[in-house]
């Protein structure tokens, strides 16, 4: 019985997960702190590794304590919860897994808004921290100072709203005077901080419904999603990158990423060039930051296009059935038989390598999978009684499909598209790496990697960092997708 109780405790499973991940990262860092090439130890990496190891051990102890608490009294003691404040320090080592777990441990009865407010603040802080690294550069963009002060003010406001939400938000009841705060929060989302947008919308909804669960589905989904650390961390990284992509217009200098600087060729990482420079003297760090933009754009559009086209085809063929279904699905079988990457290569071979063609090429190959998913859902939904009722009332087919069938069968599409944005990001960079993707002069992660791969022996960091960026982004989408699947439709898991 006791065993079951602590296994079902969210705090316990989060603590376990975070110490395992942190220990894993610590081991990887430890391994890379020893340079096989020169047989020397890199002190900076070793220190970070030891910090991670320390936090992993602390977290392990904390997990053990939570387990004992629950086994003994069925609840976590306040003294154990207080220990979470120590673990909050892990934020400075950039360890979000432990930070998130600590934040959840500290507040006993947390709600969706509290979690969203925390992540709003974290996103702002991370964006400022990353942008501030530009201060070490020889020069900064003209708009750097005003932009960064605006960001600081916004983040200060986010801190205030976090405190307000933590204090005045009880359960699902929000104080009505919070609505100007909510509107301001929505306005601050122009910095790309989508958490602020979500928080604002959530607050407005709660204020409007005054504690009555009018939008049960929306609340339930966000409730479940915010309770799962991994999906929130995934969402955090995506929002962070998005916000970076927006803010970098003002805080980063595009010339650093594209213009040659022959006085700083192939420099190793330093404060001015946090990830070093490439063979043209371009700052790798700035290039990776700008690369996020193109990866997000290509990933988003090459998912959106097949979702719309495949979804429409799937809905039509599922709703009308018989001959329509047969014709559409047999034609899509043809597309389905060609592996996505090969079809993309063939399309790009025919029409040339550029971003637009890349998006089209990746989209075409993904249409059949979405059509199949949608068709299966529509087949299920169109047997429901409310669809029959609508038909009996004489509603036109098109209206039935748009108003009743598509909303009812959207959940698996959302999950699938989140999971495949990651795959699209990988395909984009793979094709760029082959010279078939984004134009070579644009700083895109695959392009940066392709360039770095020629310096693998002497300057391996040129190939390692862009790859890490790709992995983190794809991993985030996979985390988010898994979380969405659990939140939207537990049966899919």
């Amino acid at each position: 019985m006791a065993k079951l109780t602590f296994k079902s405790s969210l705090e316990y499973s989060e603590a376990t997960f975070s110490w395992i991940v942190t220990a894993g990262i610590a081991v990887i860092l430890l391994l890379s702190s020893y340079d096989l090439w020169t047989q020397a130890v890199r002190p900076s990496v070793l220190i970070i590794a030891l910090v991670y190891l320390l936090f992993a051990l602390l977290q392990l102890g904390l997990a053990w304590r939570i387990r004992n608490d629950i086994a003994r009294s069925g609840a976590i003691r306040s003294s154990t919860r207080a220990l979470g404040y120590i673990q909050l320090l892990s934020l400075f080592s950039g360890n979000l897994f432990i930070t998130a777990s600590a934040l959840h441990l500290i507040k006993r009865d947390r709600n969706t808004e509290y979690t969203l407010a925390v992540y709003t603040l974290l996103t702002g802080l991370f964006v400022i921290a990353i942008s501030a690294l530009n201060l070490f550069k020889p020069y900064v963009a003209d708009t750097f100072l005003p932009a960064i002060s605006l960001l600081l003010i916004t983040t200060g406001f986010h801190l205030i709203s976090l405190l307000l939400v933590a204090r005045f938000m009880k359960g699902r009841i929000a104080a009505p005077w919070l609505s100007p705060v909510a509107i301001l929060l929505i306005l601050t989302s122009v910095t790309g901080n989508l958490f602020a947008l979500l928080l604002g919308i959530n607050l407005l909804i709660k204020i409007r419904h005054n504690g009555k669960p009018a939008t049960a589905k929306w609340e339930e989904v966000w409730g479940k999603l915010t309770r799962s650390t991994t999906s929130m961390i995934g969402l955090f990284f995506i929002v962070f990158l998005f916000s970076m992509a927006v803010c970098s217009y003002f805080t980063f200098d595009y010339a650093m990423a594209t213009e040659n600087n022959y006085s700083a060729i192939l420099q190793h990482p330093s404060l001015a060039y946090p990830l070093g420079t490439d063979n043209f003297g371009r700052c790798l760090f700035t290039r990776i930051v700008f690369g996020a933009r193109i990866s997000l754009i290509v990933g988003f559009f090459s998912t959106l296009i097949p979702v719309v086209i495949g979804g429409a085809l799937g809905a039509i063929s599922g709703y009308y059935g018989r001959r329509t279904d047969n014709i559409i699905m047999r034609l899509l079988d043809v597309l389905y038989a060609i592996p996505g990457i090969l079809l993309a290569i063939a399309i790009i071979a025919a029409f040339g390598a550029n971003t637009f063609n890349l998006i089209i090429a990746l989209s075409v190959g993904a249409i059949p999978t979405y059509a199949r998913t949608m068709r299966a859902n529509v087949l299920l939904v169109s047997t429901f009684e409310y669809v029959e009722a609508a038909r009996a009332l004489g509603t036109r087919d098109l209206l039935i499909i748009i108003k009743h069938i598509i909303p009812g069968s959207l959940a698996p599409m959302i999950v699938k598209s989140t999971l495949t944005i990651g795959a699209a990001v990988i395909s984009t960079s793979s094709l760029s790496f082959l010279g078939l993707g984004v134009e070579p002069h644009i700083p895109e992660w695959g392009n940066i990697l392709k360039l770095g791969s020629t310096y693998l022996e002497s300057h391996s960091y040129l190939a390692i960092y862009p790859g890490l960026a790709i992995i983190l982004l794809v991993l985030s989408f996979n985390f988010l997708g898994d979380g969405l699947r659990d939140a939207l439709d537990p049966k899919l898991g």
């Binding site: 096989l36 793979s430 082959l434």
Partner: protein
């Protein structure tokens, strides 16, 4: 096989009816003549004509006529229409005639039922004929194609395999048309790319004539489809080599690579997935699933570069490029190629095992007193393996396509890197051949997997009996 029964069943199946009539045209023609002859003196028709005539004479006709007139008047007044008496009369007549005919059919059938005679239909005639040894013997020679089709139809497994193969033939045809059309629409000019900027118009025209690029779309399409089916796609634009011969040389390399990494990933992933499902939410579950998620998120070219950096450049353990003579050089490419598949299969195994172990029959198995091991192997894995095989089949295709990137990283001269090398020109026959033959391989593998299901899954096997 009972030819008569099979014929009747196929005749009722709309997707086979026309093939049956077409392939057995001589037999069907003969049967049709017999049918027409029989129809004349058939009991049904004689009786029907009698009944119909009797009805025309009786007062039933007058009653129906009056009824119809009344109905039409009501209808007209409701819709506010006016019809000339002439047209009204004609409408009444035609409706009445229809109704009388229906009435006659019903009455005839009632009478026949009383006597125990059935209506003679075309299928009935054929069935009767086939039961006669002489006709059957003749039809065997004349309708040999039809009997072949009937043989296929009569066995559910054979029919299923046959349909699956026909379907993939259409898919292969579609793939060829699609890929060729994409390449045909290309605004690129291979002639100018190969001959260089200094090429004159005559040289370009000459090049286009040699490779048939000046012909119309349909002619080129036909030639290419014929080429794909006869394994003769002509010579490549650059390098002047036989396309199919080159593909035949490069394809086995890719296939070996994929098969080895497939075997490796299945051997690793399935035990991991089962272990994670059995020890849900434990340390091992978290670790394995986190690693699997990273495996899904890692771009293969980056993984390849990191492997080369660590194991070849720094440690000197493994060679950085592939060499057919050196088995050690296979390790890194297969691991890189198999990572995504391993991750996907491990995740799928976990979720499908989790689903299975919550089923009622697992409780039954436990209640029967089976031990953990028997439950796992006899009941859990056997049921969980079906969706896993589907994922493996799907991923195998992705792997064949995705091998292009891995091959480029490790400098392997497989089909993937061949297509990538040829796309800059674009070398139409080479790309077409590479993509289409890969798609054909994938389709064939999917057919084999589907057919294996039909044999091994008892649930599908039962369904097949009614197929």
């Amino acid at each position: 096989m009972k030819p008569a029964a099979t014929y009747a069943k196929m005749y009722a199946d709309p997707s086979y009816k026309y093939f049956l009539l077409l392939l057995g045209a001589p037999v069907n023609l003969a049967a049709l003549v017999v049918y027409w002859v029989q129809r004349r003196k058939d009991a049904y028709h004689v009786l029907y004509n009698e009944t119909h005539a009797a009805l025309l004479e009786s007062d039933v006709k007058l009653r129906i006529e009056a009824e119809t007139l009344e109905q039409l008047r009501c209808k007209m007044s409701f819709f506010g229409e006016t019809l000339s008496p002439e047209r009204l009369r004609r409408q009444v007549e035609s409706v009445t005639a229809d109704k009388l005919r229906q009435q006659a059919v019903i009455e005839t059938e009632r009478k026949l039922e009383r006597r125990g005679v059935s209506e003679s239909s075309y299928v009935g005639v054929v069935q009767n004929l086939l039961a006669r040894p002489i006709f059957f013997g003749f039809s065997l020679i004349a309708g040999i194609l039809m009997y072949a089709l009937m043989l296929v139809y009569s066995n559910p497994y054979v029919k299923y395999i046959f349909e699956r193969i026909v379907m993939s033939l259409f898919v292969i045809l579609g793939v060829s048309v699609l890929v060729f059309t994409i390449l045909y629409l290309s605004p690129m000019n291979p002639a100018a790319n190969i001959l260089g900027e200094t090429a004159t118009d005559e040289q370009i025209a000459q090049f286009n004539r040699i490779y048939g690029l000046d012909q119309s779309y349909l002619v080129q399409l036909w030639n290419n489809i014929k080429g794909i089916l006869t394994f003769d796609l002509g010579k490549s634009f650059a390098g002047n080599e036989q396309v199919t011969a080159t593909i035949a040389r490069k394809f086995p390399i890719t296939l070996t690579l994929t098969v080895i990494s497939l075997a490796m990933s299945v051997l690793i992933a399935i035990p991991i997935g089962i272990l994670s499902a059995m020890k849900r939410n434990s340390f091992w579950d978290y670790s394995f699933m986190f690693i699997a998620l990273i495996g899904l998120s890692i771009p293969s070219f980056w993984q390849g570069l990191i492997f080369i950096l660590n194991f070849s450049i720094k440690l000197h353990w493994l060679p950085a490029t592939y060499n057919p003579q050196n088995a050690l050089s296979l390790i890194m490419p297969t691991v890189v190629l198999g990572t995504g598949l391993t991750a996907a299969v491990a995740r799928m195994t976990r979720s499908s095992t989790l689903e299975v172990i919550l089923e009622d029959y697992m409780v039954t198995a436990k209640a029967k007193g089976l031990n953990q091991r028997q439950i796992l192997f006899r009941h859990a894995i056997r049921n969980a393996i079906i969706p896993i095989i589907t994922v493996i089949g799907l991923q195998f295709g992705a792997m064949l396509g995705g091998s292009a990137v891995t091959e480029k990283v490790f400098n392997i001269s497989g089909i993937g890197s061949y297509i990538v090398d040829k796309q800059f020109i674009p070398d139409i026959p080479s790309i077409l051949g590479g993509v289409v033959y890969t798609a054909i391989t994938i389709s064939l593998i999917n057919v084999i997997i589907d057919v294996l299901y039909a044999f091994f899954d008892p649930r599908i096997r039962t369904k097949m009996k009614h197929y």
